[in-house]
Subunit: 668 residues, 2 copies
């Protein structure tokens, strides 16, 4: 059985590290990828510090802000069961680093033992002498405070015969403990690995997006431009959106240009898909001449910024056959045995108007660098938010490098991943650095589906690295319920998106004008805006703009809706009624939605009092922020009834705290 | 916002590793500590292999047996959702290593695409030419199989005009795919980190231990010896135990020797506590002269081995004031300011007869090495199983090194941790290398307590590194229910320990003779064997030896009871009735226990059919292995009634499969 050839482990270089440190949170993949937060967040750092025996353990979080060289330290507080925590305020955008350090606190251990002895009058001189030695040792580390410590040590030595009583007096004086505690012996401290936290701007966690095709903003059916888009800014801003997201603005290829409804033959004058990027007029760093000039684009960005709107650009890493890179860098594309370039396909579907890049080509270094520089180019033009098209068809290792590279210079930049793909690939992209990701919300419609999915995203480790962005529609996706559910379905999906997640968006004006006709046999819009110019009558009286405005106002005014970590679902006795809440400090919002767009639904909701921190014995007031009603609820069980044709949802503010004069006015 | 001083990440050395590999299991602390298995286990290695896009991913588990230099490879099978698995049989004791490697399989991806195209008759020559190129590339890696591949490539090139039809014929031939698959292009494969699995002997997972004080085996009240212990071997073996565990066998100190019932004054002739180790006759590598000589001990070990019993030794790293090391190595002990050595204490408790070692002393290297050599010494005397006393009062980093060091030479050695301490410290010791650990089972008595605790230990990640050993009693612990519950309580706790866990033990003969008197105000035995010789009348007619024998036989004959991973609890409508099952292949055992030692309890159990893999529409037979009854159960809901004074438990074998002639006899 004996294996004399085996290597015996050497003795550790220092065997006196008695504490084992395991960082519990925030981490993803056990520290292999950074957790995500936004600026101003208070990050609860939690770690297990385990030492043998009964000695007292102490520790700190060591944290370094982006760009800083110095580490600062925050003391850890014991939470019981060998768990410790500290709160780190991340007050700067960028990549933070932290580690956790723990050590056995000999003085605190001695003090605790002595206090137990003092209780039974068994303190001996020698016990005090041990403490005196520890205090003297602390004095050697104490700099200016050394003399006080030396004096204290002498007092301990002097206690003499009246040991127990005088010791008790000394020990009752917390100043001694605090003073020694300031100069701990950390020679044998154990440190965790260093973990990272990516701190983004607030809008990475909390934002409402509006997607708009600039070319459809022209008057009288003309091709819209950046200038005509400027005229739409007040409309978008007044609805309360934070981000105006534009599909690709680059020159569109002519070869194999798609016609209306994705037909393969484009007629003269058909504008083509903005995702077929590149023509003789330029590629990913050019603008479509019909939209205007780069200077016009810069003007639009500035104009939007002045109105409180950020412009987000769609970056799609693919090329039309006319893209300049096809000529300049043929090695960046995959060539077939017959010499032709491989177009995009997912058999039997073919996308002849689009060439994918070959990320595995021999010249990958130059390709990757050029793609990274696309982001740099638009950042130099004032864009700090990108929506990345189909990132899941490009290597994860590319995104890891590319996003890191951009963020190293521009930590304020965020990237929304448009990856409607397999769950683990979506998550791998988030771990690689995407700031948010599109979700399956678009196809989750039943109560059970919505609850399970949102719990997976907000109440598991996924929440540390993946920020869900909820979209009821996109130019690619017109879900069945919007096709057949009428106005109630639009309102329902809007309320769900805007309240279930702090980050959401709509593709407009198709959404607020309730465009609902699908190309037969598909889940896509009939006469899809991807292939043609549209004229939208945004003044139509049945537009949803008013309810959108109200929703975005509620979102803004209620801190509870600015994050997802407090999301809790509450039981209802009717599967057509979904009920959930979010809280933040004093703010609590409760949402009830009728998922049936056709019929009035009623039932009882059973509130989870703990989730809402409701007192068990007092009635509480709820205020319907959408409908305006105010109700006194007397317990956790309450009756609700929702007519989808009137309003399929209620969003209640819950008054849980003793009221002040100010909020008396507001709530009553 | 821009931070020009930030370091931009360099391009990766190879950007063409498209697969991300994350090992899912078996791992502990994400690979920081090895998982545990026993020899012969089939280890299911599971990993997530995620690549961008829709390409087919392939991979292998690479595994290396202990002492081997070569790695062997096992192909991974796709389980869906980007998860892959393979089964590794660990057929050798020691430290195994494994990693997982994944790559994009270009040929399989091409084949999958082509099959979809062939379905809609859209295969073009160029598609086949792409495949031919891939086959030719495989040929360059194929050695002796190259000619066949070259020929196949030529066939693909030749298909010509009848592409679709002939391609279909070629593709339907799985030999081509298999042949290419044998010679994959792994140039850009991604490998996980290397993980370890500690493979122990079978008894590390499945064993019944019996603790016995050799000094109490003497005839007529004389001090027992190793020779008189030999006479007890048949008794222990006939009850079906695998391991005979002896408290420390070393010379016992005289200074501050404890008297009966832990009194501080020992009378002349009091034998002292075996845990006060060391006297002028020697320390941790000596035997107590009253027990005999080292040669006698060797004889006992051999004698036991011949009867199928392994001897386990108690190793307690502490010294009596008379231990030779106190003189020889004063620096290994903590000295107080008055020059005295610090005895063990946990204020206000004092253990003046025991000096702890100072693991943090300047001479820690010599101390650690000497302690490791204690194990080596006893291994040289044929002991391969150790029970380590109070490991939680010695540094975790020491155990990590010490156990690794012993196992490097003797991988067959196992260590049971006697750590009744904080949960995370218990687990840290298991991660540091202990083979099993004592548990809180000793104090878990209600249904809810037992279910929760056993689920934590067997159905979470804890099971990968912590093997629970269940003890109803120890010389230190006489739980309240054994004090007051009479014979039914002893039987109940015995059945629970022996069936809830594959590893259990009892302190005998105190257990089978139902010693139940506690020292007033304590949870310890009155007239504790730790401080005095006992005479046990093992022939007493009320002894539990027969039921112990029956239980150990059931354990041995039922593979279901050899592991813990299949443990499932089943609902009962009476909180005094606990019901659980274990399965292994065709074997299924169901246990029902009345937790009330005083009253008959009855109720309905609701079996979890999935856990038992029961057909939903057929009655099944159960055979009470303890009581002998045979019953036909017609569904998942069944009535049970247990009189604790007759037999507080039923252990059913469940016949779930179509019977063969052989088991027909057994069950009917």
């Amino acid at each position: 059985m004996s294996h004399p050839e085996s290597h015996e482990p050497p003795l550790p270089s220092d065997g006196r590290h008695r504490v084992v440190v395991v960082v519990v949170s925030p981490t993803c993949d056990d520290g292999r990828c950074p957790a995500k937060r936004v600026v101003g967040d208070r990050v609860r750092v939690v770690a297990d510090l385990v030492a043998d025996g009964h000695d007292v353990v102490a520790g700190v979080v060591r944290a370094r802000a982006p760009g800083a060289t110095a580490w600062r330290e925050l003391p850890l507080t014991a939470c019981g069961n060998d768990r410790f925590a500290a709160e780190l305020e991340v007050d700067r955008i960028g990549r933070w680093e932290f580690s956790v350090e723990g050590w056995v606190d000999a003085f605190a251990s001695w003090l605790a033992g002595l206090r137990r002895k003092a209780e039974v009058d068994e303190v001996a001189d020698v016990d005090l002498a041990i403490g005196a030695a520890l205090v003297r040792a602390a004095a050697t580390r104490a700099g200016g405070e050394a003399p006080v410590l030396v004096q204290l040590a002498a007092q301990l030595d002097d206690v003499g015969q009246l040991a127990a009583e005088r010791a008790r007096a000394l020990l009752a004086d917390s100043a001694l403990a605090e003073l020694v505690h300031r100069h701990p012996d950390r020679e044998h401290a154990t440190s965790s690995e260093t973990h990272a936290i990516i701190v983004d701007p607030e809008h990475a966690a909390f934002a409402a997006w509006y997607e708009l095709f600039p070319r459809s903003t022209g008057p009288d059916g003309q091709h819209g431009t950046f200038r005509t888009t400027e005229a739409w800014l007040p409309y978008v801003r007044e609805m309360g959106f934070d981000v105006l997201y534009l599909p690709p603005i680059h020159p569109i290829g002519r070869s194999h240009r798609k016609g209306p409804n994705n037909t393969t033959q484009a007629a003269e004058g058909d504008p083509g898909s903005p995702w077929a990027i590149g023509s003789r007029e330029g590629g990913h760093t050019a603008v479509h001449p019909a939209l205007g000039t780069l200077a016009d684009f810069d003007h639009l960005v500035g104009c939007a910024r002045d109105q409180g709107l950020a412009i987000a650009l769609d970056i799609a890493f693919q090329a039309s056959p006319d893209h300049p890179w096809v000529r300049e860098h043929p090695s960046w594309f995959r060539h077939r045995p017959d010499g032709s370039i491989q177009y995009a396909e997912n058999p039997p579907k073919k996308y002849e108007d689009v060439y994918p890049f070959d990320f595995e080509c021999d010249d990958w270094r130059a390709l990757w660098t050029a793609l990274r520089d696309v982001f740099s180019f638009w950042i130099d033009h004032g864009v700090t938010i990108f929506r990345v098209d189909n990132p899941h068809t490009k290597p994860i290792v590319f995104w890891q490098w590319c996003l890191d590279s951009v963020k190293a210079r521009h930590p304020e930049v965020t990237f929304l991943s448009e990856a409607f793909t397999r769950p683990k690939l979506k998550f791998a992209l988030a771990k690689a650095g995407f700031s948010q990701g599109y979700t399956y919300f678009t196809w989750r419609s039943t109560k059970d589906e919505l609850e399970r999915y949102m719990q997976e995203l907000t109440a598991t480790g996924v929440a540390e690295f993946f920020r869900p962005s909820l979209w009821p529609n996109t130019p690619d996706i017109l879900p069945e319920e919007l096709q057949y559910g009428g106005r109630p379905a639009f309102v329902t999906r809007l309320v769900l998106a805007a309240t279930l997640a702090s980050h959401y968006g709509i593709y407009g004006p198709a959404f607020e004008l309730m465009a609902h006709e699908a190309r037969p046999g598909s889940g896509e819009y009939l006469d899809n805006e991807k292939y043609e110019l549209k004229r939208w009558d945004i003044e139509r009286p049945d537009s949803l703009r008013r309810i959108i405005t109200a929703l975005n106002k509620i979102r803004r005014e209620h801190a509870a809706l600015h994050r997802n970590d407090s999301l809790r679902f509450h039981a209802t006795d009717n599967d057509m009624l979904i009920c959930f809440s979010k809280t933040s400090g004093d703010d609590a919002v409760l949402v009830v939605v009728n998922l049936d767009p056709h019929h009035r639904q009623s039932g009882w909701v059973q509130l989870d009092r703990d989730a809402l921190e409701l007192a068990t014995d007092r009635p509480f007031q709820v205020h319907d922020l959408l409908g305006g009603g105010r109700y006194l609820w007397h317990g956790p069980r309450n009756y609700v009834e929702l007519d989808p044709h009137a309003m399929p949802a209620q969003i209640f503010a819950i008054r849980r705290r003793v009221r002040t004069e100010r909020d008396f006015d507001y709530y009553l």
